[in-house]
């Protein structure tokens, strides 16, 4: 055991045994996930088709900005659903958890935090979030406990949870709508105030690009440490450039969405800015909920790919018995996954209550289905064992794109549902065909 807990010293020569062959093909050299590329392609196709059908109103900075904000809450929750589904479980209760935690946050804020700390005290926002996330994690942990330790199937436990927590959301305030009072908390919902503006958006973009470069260098160093074959330099450059270009493009889009002229003037006056004669243009930039969603996506990707916990989640999904025999505490991992899902539902609740400026007991109704659909469209296999966070987030964007595209085309809600339902089944069918053909 002693030599296994610490990393072995770096061998001075290439590892014995099979010499790792350098990749020869173009795609192989870039180490691209073809599946992910396919999803980006599908998203691009949807956008182009809608732009055509909706007379050029889809691919506008304004619509894309709105799309990003509207996707945030579902995207945040879909990252947790990936882990749940990878472990061969399901969580039908996320919409209701969103409802009840949103309610808890609004009531806690209005009835306890405001009177204690006063209007717009920064502590109010922080404590609201802590309370909401703790409540969500506790609810999820309770589900996880019943599933893992009492052996009740997740489908049933979370179906029960769907009813229980929706009822609880009503019970918290006897069905009343609770308005949010804290302006800092409202920033989480986006809007003109909840966006970071052009300058900060560029700062974020610069940090993102540096992070991409740093990650590539770090990966290269790691491989050098063990004398593994390296990615060709041109491939590194291509990957880094594509990543940075995507960041720059997204930043250009969100910065191109500006406040209407009269609002911009009023905003500038209230902020005491001098208005140049040609008028003032104020960019939205990245919306706060989008940044929250991206941050959640990065953290969740890190958890799934770089930590023991993430490795165990996948191993359990691949072969629960093998994981158990390898000494993994599968029950504890199950409980943790559901607790994490609950916490993410609470973050989703913070975003969507902040966006609506109030909490209602019906909030998040049917969200569980959108979240599951996003994860599944994003390539998470319901058979367990495979799925990616980034895929699920793209899946959330696909779902939202369909809906907002149809709204722009003035399709009635019932017909929207018909289309979304069909697309979900179609997407999974395509994925099934792909898996059979190429795996």
């Amino acid at each position: 055991m002693s030599d296994t807990t610490t990393a072995p010293p770096a061998p001075t020569s290439a590892p014995k045994g099979a010499p790792a062959t350098a990749p020869t093909t173009f795609v192989g050299a870039l180490e691209i996930d073809i599946r992910f590329l396919g999803m980006i392609g599908a998203l691009a196709a949807i956008w182009i088709v809608f732009d055509f059908l909706a007379d050029g109103t889809f691919l506008t900075p304004r619509n894309l900005w709105n799309l990003s904000v509207q996707s945030s809450s579902i995207a945040v929750m879909s990252t947790g659903m990936v882990l749940v589904i990878v472990m061969r479980h399901i969580d039908l209760s996320v919409g209701s958890i969103l409802g009840v935690t949103g309610m808890i946050m609004a009531v806690f804020q209005a009835s306890y935090l405001m009177p204690t700390f006063g209007f717009n005290n920064p502590a109010v926002m922080a404590l609201t979030l802590v309370a909401g996330i703790a409540a969500g994690a506790a609810i999820g942990a309770l589900h996880g406990f019943v599933i893992a330790y009492l052996g009740v199937p997740a489908f049933i436990v979370t179906l029960g949870g769907l009813l229980v927590w929706r009822g609880a959301a009503w019970a918290v305030a006897q069905g009343k709508t609770i308005p949010l009072t804290d302006d800092n908390f409202k920033l989480l919902g986006g809007g003109a105030d909840g966006s970071i503006g052009a300058t900060w958006s560029w700062v974020v973009a610069a940090i993102a690009c540096l992070a991409i470069v740093f990650a590539a260098i770090q990966a290269r160093r790691q491989r050098q440490r063990f004398h593994f074959p390296l990615k060709p330099l041109w491939a590194e450059v291509v990957t880094i450039s594509v990543g940075c270009l995507a960041v720059v493009a997204a930043t250009l889009v969100v910065n191109a969405y500006t406040l209407p002229a009269n609002l911009a003037r009023r905003y500038a006056e209230s902020a005491g800015l001098t208005i140049p004669p040609e008028g003032i243009s104020i960019s939205f930039g990245y919306a706060v909920p989008v940044l929250v969603a991206v941050a959640v996506g990065i953290v969740m990707t890190f958890i799934t790919t770089r930590t023991r916990f993430g490795r165990y989640v996948f191993a359990i999904g691949g072969n629960p018995e093998a994981a158990e025999l390898a000494g993994i505490n599968t029950k504890r991992v199950t409980l943790t996954v559901f607790a994490l899902m609950g916490a993410l539902a609470a973050i989703g609740a913070a975003i969507s209550t902040a966006r609506l400026n109030s909490a209602t007991n019906a909030q998040g109704t049917l969200d569980e289905l959108y979240v599951i659909a996003a994860a599944v469209i994003g390539g998470t296999s319901l058979a367990g064992g495979s799925g990616t966070i980034a895929g699920a987030m793209i899946g959330a964007l696909v779902m939202q794109s369909l809906q907002s595209g149809m709204v722009l085309m003035r399709v009635d809600t019932p017909y929207q549902n018909i289309v979304v339902g069909i697309v979900l089944v179609f997407a999974v069918w395509i994925d099934t065909v792909y898996r059979k053909r190429f795996k």
Partner: protein
């Protein structure tokens, strides 16, 4: 095969001192069925003990108790003479017990390195998975076991039966096992790979590792084992040194539960 000549040489000298493993009067029942009913077996350093019996005789259940997958209803396990408390697979590994399961127990959706280190991952100083170090170690150990192995980046789902087997074996021997349990190790293998596993067993034995070799087929184990213990209907028929009994006698133990003169009869013997 000619290893019959070589194995008895080690047998008498090997079985002295404290046994590596003693399982005493082990019992376990599942819903009224006595899967293992008062079985006692032991294992000495550098010894190969074949555990034989029909499918459903209780061999795998007995061995899963030693591996920590099941907790016995009663009975005692001693490792190196000291009473051992094995409550889960993690405990068993702490005692140096490694198991190669019949099903191989691999997570199909992750790669060879992830399987090899499953539950015992190498970590970087920052507490993250050190995948590169794990891959390097996997290349090293697989290079010894199966030099033709190339699919380090692929989920083990895409591996052949023999390749999967070598991943399972690599996992068991990489962590300096003192006691190795092999449940039908050659069931899924071709003749050449079977011969490789036989070579490996002899090699490990020479290093002083005690090996339980489980099989329903006497021919798989008779030549490799120093002793055989035969089970039938959850009970021990008897234990014999392979030098003292013939294959036919052992077959009689398996099929009829009849303990021959060269064997120490157990409670399950019919005569």
């Amino acid at each position: 095969m000619n290893n019959l000549a070589s194995s008895p040489v080690a047998t008498p000298s090997a079985r002295t001192g404290t046994p590596l493993v003693e399982m005493r009067d082990i019992r376990i029942a599942f819903g009224g069925v006595h899967a293992v009913d008062g079985v006692s077996v032991d294992l000495y350093p550098g010894e190969v003990v074949g555990l034989l019996g029909h499918n459903g005789a209780g061999k795998s259940t007995l061995i899963k108790i030693l591996a920590g997958a099941y907790r016995p209803d009663s009975g005692e396990i001693r490792i190196n003479g000291a009473k051992a408390d094995i409550g889960n697979p993690r405990d068993a590994k702490r005692y140096g017990i490694e198991t190669i399961y019949q099903t191989l127990a691999l997570a199909d959706n992750v790669d060879a390195a992830a399987n090899l280190f499953l539950g015992r991952e190498l970590m970087t100083p920052w507490g993250t998975l050190d995948d590169v170090a794990m891959e390097a170690a996997t290349r090293e150990v697989m290079g010894r076991l199966n030099p033709n192995f190339r699919k380090f980046k692929e989920p083990v789902r895409g591996l052949s039966g023999g390749q999967r087997q070598s991943v399972a074996i690599a996992r068991a021997i990489h962590f300096n096992a003192k006691i190795l349990i092999m449940d039908e190790p050659t069931a899924a293998l071709g003749p050449q790979e079977t011969a490789q596993v036989a070579e490996l067993i002899k090699h490990l034995k020479a290093e002083g590792i005690g090996i339980f070799l489980i099989s329903h087929d006497i021919h798989d184990v008779f030549d490799l084992a120093d002793r055989v213990s035969v089970m039938k209907n959850g009970k021990l028929v008897g234990t014999a040194s392979t030098a003292d009994v013939t294959k036919d006698e052992v077959l009689g133990m398996i099929i009829l539960g009849k303990s021959p003169p060269g064997a120490v009869a157990g409670p399950g013997a019919s005569n």
